[in-house]
């Protein structure tokens, strides 16, 4: 068990094998390499909380909840970075935020995680912009 200090959720105790490692960090957060995912029973959105900075947490969702037909081409170099062997081991999360009543999903910078070893990276997708959804 490790203890994780967080601004939003207080002190969390988590099993070490729940930590997701981003060897390169996320863009703009290169020093933060360890995260935990906070899951909820009643919603498919999750928090991705940095282990080493209490303030840093992202709201994320599995890309298929937003875009059921989503496809991502993973370059060999990224497959090697994550030790990704099979496509079905890959989990793609998208960072969400709300601005002026609209939902903005950062499809230009999806998070790719190897569920087998919990290694992840933020990809940069050319010719894709963050997508804006109306919330009902």
């Amino acid at each position: 068990m490790i203890e994780v200090e967080t601004t939003r959720f207080g002190k969390l105790k988590v099993e070490e094998d729940r930590i997701i490692h981003f060897p390169e960090g996320l863009l703009g957060f290169s020093k933060l390499k360890r995260y935990i995912l906070l899951d909820y029973k009643d919603t498919s959105i999750k928090w991705l909380q940095a282990v080493d900075d209490p303030d840093v947490a992202f709201i994320v969702i599995n890309v298929f909840e937003l875009e059921p037909e989503y496809e991502l081409k993973v370059p060999d170099s990224v497959q090697r970075l994550l030790g990704l062997e099979k496509p079905e081991d890959a989990v793609v999360l998208v960072i969400l935020r709300v601005e002026e009543g609209k939902l903005i999903a950062n499809l230009a910078g999806p998070l790719l995680i190897n569920s087998q070893n919990r290694r992840g990276t933020q990809m940069v997708i050319e010719n894709v912009s963050p997508k804006v959804y109306n919330m009902q």
Binding site: G28, D42, R97, N106, Q122, S129, M135
Partner: protein, 76 residues
């Protein structure tokens, strides 16, 4: 900032294994060729910057935002 002047087909070597070469100049557009090892990520600066800024904005999310989104993404 280091400033170097190069002609078409001339290049710049960065460290041991990165080469940036000027391939073509047309008006205000310059076409560059970049040779770098696989693990070196090369992006257009504005794209990198856009994702970085999105990330920073996204960390401002609070529990209120989460609760609003929760209504949209209820588990069936």
């Amino acid at each position: 900032m280091l400033v170097l002047t190069r002609k078409v087909n001339e290049g710049i070597r960065i460290g041991d294994d990165i080469v940036v070469r000027v391939l073509e100049v047309r008006g205000s557009q310059v076409k560059l060729g970049i040779e770098a090892p696989d693990e070196v990520k090369v992006y257009r600066e504005e794209l990198y910057q856009k994702i970085l800024e999105e990330n920073i904005r996204a960390t401002k999310a609070d529990k209120d935002q989460f609760n609003r989104l929760k209504e949209v993404f209820k588990k069936k």
